[in-house]
């Protein structure tokens, strides 16, 4: 039995070089960044070096990087912190229908706090149309948050075009780049955004550390009050080892980005071509070309994602799914539903995400392992029986 990890969207492993870069700050250089002695100096150096590397990854300036504890924190901070800081100008915010819950739920919280929320739809590929964003903008729109890429279906959004539209209105534009930062080239100036979130564990850094890039001069209300860490914008003792790891991961991602993307996209394309040719009634979700290099996402009709995931796991293959059963909330992926995929098909969602350890043989193993699993579950599926009988696809 193989051991094939194809769930890099959940988290990547930490690269050995990254771990190496972290270790000194647990053991020898364990000082607090805020301390004025030499222990503090070492920690400060590490954090500032990492800040520069993260800024480099996205074409920003070091002082515009605020370290956080996750992509989720960065998104919460951006959406709530920016809305709160600019509410004197208006109380209308805009997000897309396929945002990560850390953006979507933050926006819903703002709604409870008296803000008004508009959700921009997506097309069947998960693409946001800049014209729809333009239509949603109002005089009192203060913040627009639309993701750079969607991790579930891999679709990359036209952020540059959207930014142009948003800029004309004078609203602030945040983009959640947790799924894309470190995987595809990002230049915050070129994109024209005002704020951008990223997370280390999406590109071979450790869990529990992320960053918010915030353009110089844009005001934000701090989320955590306390000390003067991060220029007073994010209090709390800096997680120096994790930040050092993020810095190293960012440096490596920038240096190796082209080579990684080339490898991942070859694996992705092999699976996207192979799976529907081996198994009937499989749809590829997401955009055919505007897509993250490591993302291959599907819906397998007539069966449910969690059952597939578990049977794949029994064969040593790790994947994720957007089915209702795999979510704690017991709802099918809001991303797939927003793309117009019917519930019963969205239940069959399966997401393979590639990483540095994966090879073409892994794809062969998946292509070999999947058909009997799908067959087995279809044999016990009432939906499949119904389809065979009268070619109907719906529920009951």
């Amino acid at each position: 039995m193989g051991e094939v990890y194809l769930d890099h969207v959940a988290t990547t492993p930490v690269l050995p070089e990254v771990l190496e870069a972290m270790l000194p700050y647990f053991k020898d250089a364990y000082g607090n960044v805020q301390s004025l002695h030499s222990w503090g100096d070492k920690a400060r150096e590490a954090v500032e070096e990492a800040r520069g590397k993260v800024a480099d990854l996205i074409g920003g300036v070091a002082e515009e990087i605020i370290f956080t504890a996750s992509g989720t924190e960065s998104n919460n901070f951006a959406v709530k912190g920016l809305a709160m800081a600019h509410q004197a100008r208006g109380k209308h915010i805009v997000v897309s229908a396929i945002e990560h819950f850390s953006v979507l739920h933050s926006a819903k919280t703002l709604e409870k706090w008296g803000f008004e929320l508009s959700e921009v739809p997506v097309d069947k590929y998960g693409l946001v149309d800049p014209k729809d964003v333009a239509r949603s903008l109002r005089k009192d729109t203060i913040l627009v948050s639309i993701m750079h890429a969607n991790s579930e279906v891999g679709t990359i959004e036209p952020i540059k075009e959207i930014a142009r539209v948003v800029k004309q209105s004078g609203a602030i534009f945040h983009t959640d780049a947790v799924a894309s930062a470190g995987s595809i080239p990002i230049n915050v100036k070129g994109l024209g955004v005002d704020a951008l979130s990223l997370a280390a564990n999406q590109f071979y850094g450790p869990k529990g550390v992320g960053a918010l890039w915030l353009k110089k001069g844009v005001r934000i209300i701090p989320f955590l009050d306390g000390g003067v860490q991060e220029e007073g914008r994010r209090a709390g003792t800096e997680n120096v080892p994790a930040i050092a790891g993020l810095g190293k991961a960012a440096e490596l991602a920038k240096a190796e980005m082209g080579a990684r993307a080339k490898r991942f996209s070859a694996l992705r394309d092999k699976l996207i071509a192979g799976l529907p040719s081996r198994i009937e009634h499989v749809l590829v979700t997401g955009h055919p070309t505007k897509r993250l290099p490591g993302n291959a996402s599907f819906c397998v009709e007539f069966i449910e994602g969690e059952a597939m995931l578990m049977l794949l796991n029994s064969q040593g293959i790790a994947v994720s799914s957007g089915s209702a059963c795999t979510s704690r909330a017991l709802k099918a992926s809001h991303v797939l539903i927003a793309m117009g995929i019917p519930h019963e098909i969205a239940q069959g969602s399966l997401l393979f995400s590639f990483g540095l350890d994966n090879t073409g043989e892994d794809v062969d193993y998946v292509l070999e392992t999947m058909p009997p699993i799908v067959d087995r579950l279809r044999q016990m599926s009432p939906l499949y029986a119904k389809f065979l009988k009268d070619k109907s696809r719906g529920g009951k």
Partner: protein, 135 residues
């Protein structure tokens, strides 16, 4: 720690009595694809006893394990006995289900109940006041 216990996993990996019964004496269908689980139960009745039971299930690991367990519990029972199979009893026989799966996926008893009601109806008897479990 795995999400499912060994017993649930064993039933999921080796589900018993999967299939349909041609000319079944009773059929019960529950669930809908929006919540993610659908089950169809088929029963054969001889002398007021469930002589055979089969099912088809669309759903997660828990839904499949529940269907398998219900089929085992029902086989050989009288209709009255089988009607006493509740979701709680099924969960107990499976030595527990994850909390968030308890309501959504634990539909097997309800589907069986519906199949029994369907049989009774066909026999011209009323299904009494049994409502077939919770919605």
């Amino acid at each position: 720690m795995p999400v499912y216990n060994e017993k649930v996993m064993e039933h999921f990996m080796n589900p018993r009595n999967v299939g349909e019964i041609e000319n079944a004496d009773g059929i019960g269908e529950v669930g809908n694809p929006v919540c993610g689980d659908m089950m169809s139960f088929y029963i054969k009745v001889d002398n007021n006893r469930i002589s055979d039971v089969k099912y088809k299930t669309f759903g997660c690991g828990a839904a499949i394990a529940v269907s398998s367990m219900v089929s085992e519990m029902a086989k050989g029972k009288t209709l009255e006995e089988a009607k006493k199979i509740t979701p709680a009893l099924v969960a107990k026989e499976l030595e527990g289900l994850p909390k968030n799966k308890y309501h959504c996926s634990n539909l097997g008893a309800q589907a069986l109940n519906k199949a029994i009601d369907n049989y009774l109806k066909k026999q011209g008897k009323t299904a009494k006041s049994q409502k077939g479990g919770k919605k």
